[in-house]
Subunit: 303 residues, 2 copies
């Protein structure tokens, strides 16, 4: 039996799988994420959320391929790629692969140091660019990511703690397509981490359990801890925090009329950017010109 305190409910395995599917269906419908006619590319890390999402969308009958991005983060990346490939093979599903070191000449540890960014920042920038590029190249309508309720609540908490009004205005489960960008969606926003882990176990999906070694000390882990404390005292808090935000606050932070700075094409890769060269091409320039950095060197201190 899987007990869900925030829903005051307990489920056996098959009922839990049904519950999980219903939550994803509800998110897709409520936020009009995509239709069965559209082609979806799921960004796959080899973890419980992205593999679970891929499995759920396949099960619901959507046209969905996977995209695995090799980040060059030592053994972590090797293992995560193995899980992604094994899942694709087991489902007879198509996995698109992009490899940062082979295709772009750098890895995340080196890129972070070269660009003087925190590792999670260099990684996020690379992922956003390459997910979008792969979707455009492959003719996909939408990129789906495995961000769950805990992820979104933690990001929201971080944005609220500093009242990053720009980010608050853009934190939505669907980002519509605009010039040069495909639509991005988060179909797992109604499910939390524990639920996704349980789903994978029940469905027999092998996934990488380790957190990324570079995320140690990442602020969002601290935000998750703090929110878990609140959730333990008052089940359902995280759900209310995120969904009441969407319902009653989000629009108050939206910029009237989209991009304030007009976008133009990156002179290198053609992506939309506010400058001459986009942030990704600038990162590639710096990273590929610099000496490789060992993984441990950029690992953030545990706090």
């Amino acid at each position: 039996m899987i007990e869900l305190r925030r829903h005051n409910a307990s489920f056996c395995g098959p009922c839990f799988v049904h519950y999980t599917e219903q939550q994803v269906r509800k998110a897709i419908d409520e936020f009009e994420m995509f239709t069965p006619e559209e082609r979806i590319l799921v960004a796959v890390s080899g973890g419980k959320d992205s593999l679970g999402l891929w499995d759920l969308l396949l099960g619901l009958g959507y046209q969905v391929d996977g995209l695995y991005l090799g980040l060059g983060i030592g053994e972590y990346s090797d293992a995560s790629g193995t899980y992604a490939r094994a899942f694709a093979a087991s489902r007879g599903a198509r996995l698109v692969e992009v490899d940062l070191p082979a295709d772009y000449g750098y890895d995340i540890p080196t890129g972070a140091v070269a660009a003087r960014r925190a590792p999670c920042s260099a990684c996020g920038l690379s992922k956003r660019h390459l997910f979008n590029r792969a979707a455009l190249d492959g003719g996909y309508d939408v990129v789906a990511t495995g961000h769950n309720l805990d992820d979104e609540a933690a990001v929201l908490f971080g944005n609220v703690l500093r009242w990053n009004t720009d980010y608050l205005g853009r934190q939505l489960p669907v980002l519509p397509a605009e010039a040069g960008f495909v639509r991005k969606v988060k179909p797992l926003v109604r499910l939390d981490e524990r639920e996704m882990a349980a789903y994978c176990v029940i469905r027999g999906i092998d996934y990488i359990v380790e957190e990324c070694p570079m995320a140690d000390g990442n602020r969002h882990l601290g935000y998750k801890e703090a929110l878990n404390l609140v959730e333990a005292g008052s089940p359902g808090s995280k759900h209310a925090f995120y969904f009441e935000f969407l319902a009653r606050a989000s629009s108050r932070f939206r910029a009237p009329g989209g991009h304030e700075v007009p976008l133009r094409e990156c002179s290198r890769c053609g992506s939309p950017t506010t400058g001459e060269v986009c942030a990704f091409c600038a990162l590639v320039d710096r990273a590929s010109a610099s000496e490789p950095v060992a993984l441990g060197a950029t690992r953030r201190p545990r706090r």
Copy 2:
């Protein structure tokens, strides 16, 4: 030495007192709380915040009397009254006293049960009404309360967790006077709990250390815990959370044009209210008609 991580600073006793005064001065000036010509009534509980505030305002040369409200919460109320009176006597300051059981015929444990409110709700309602009443009766310009940065950040967190947009629009360090309500101010918003405790120790102020026994399990204590976790990882987070809210978000939640429902006079006490009888008079009616309740009976379960 008192070390303040969020300011990256350490102070000896006299320098710390100076720092504390500067923070209060800054809050008073920045939010235009009151002038030296105005008469201030400080709501005094006998705790570190309210006694420290009274001491600080006296030291800064303001015209300030204290108001002690006897809540009838067993030994806790007896002890807190004793600390308030001892402080007033030591400073030769004037303490106005109102006693719920003697003057209004009920105590908080009984009032909460009779009105079917959580104890903190019945207590807050009683305090707001009687602080305002005492200020009007005594000809004071403003009521000052000892809410510190931890208090305000926790209340803000609670409002944000549920996106209580009405409350978010009204959570300000100054509430201006309006028909029937005197101005309310919170001069300690730039100082946290630990700082107020240190201030009282250095200044030799005896205060009641125990928390109110009825606040056990109060949600705000959980919110404080969660925020302390964030603050430990990133000193200054609480300050940024509260002050960036004021600077960049608060106005987005303000109702355009004040009260939506027109106010009229309570038929019983004349206070502004939206109904026929104000919430305080309704509480008094129910509470004074009901059997006294023992303190333990309404204590909330520890979570």
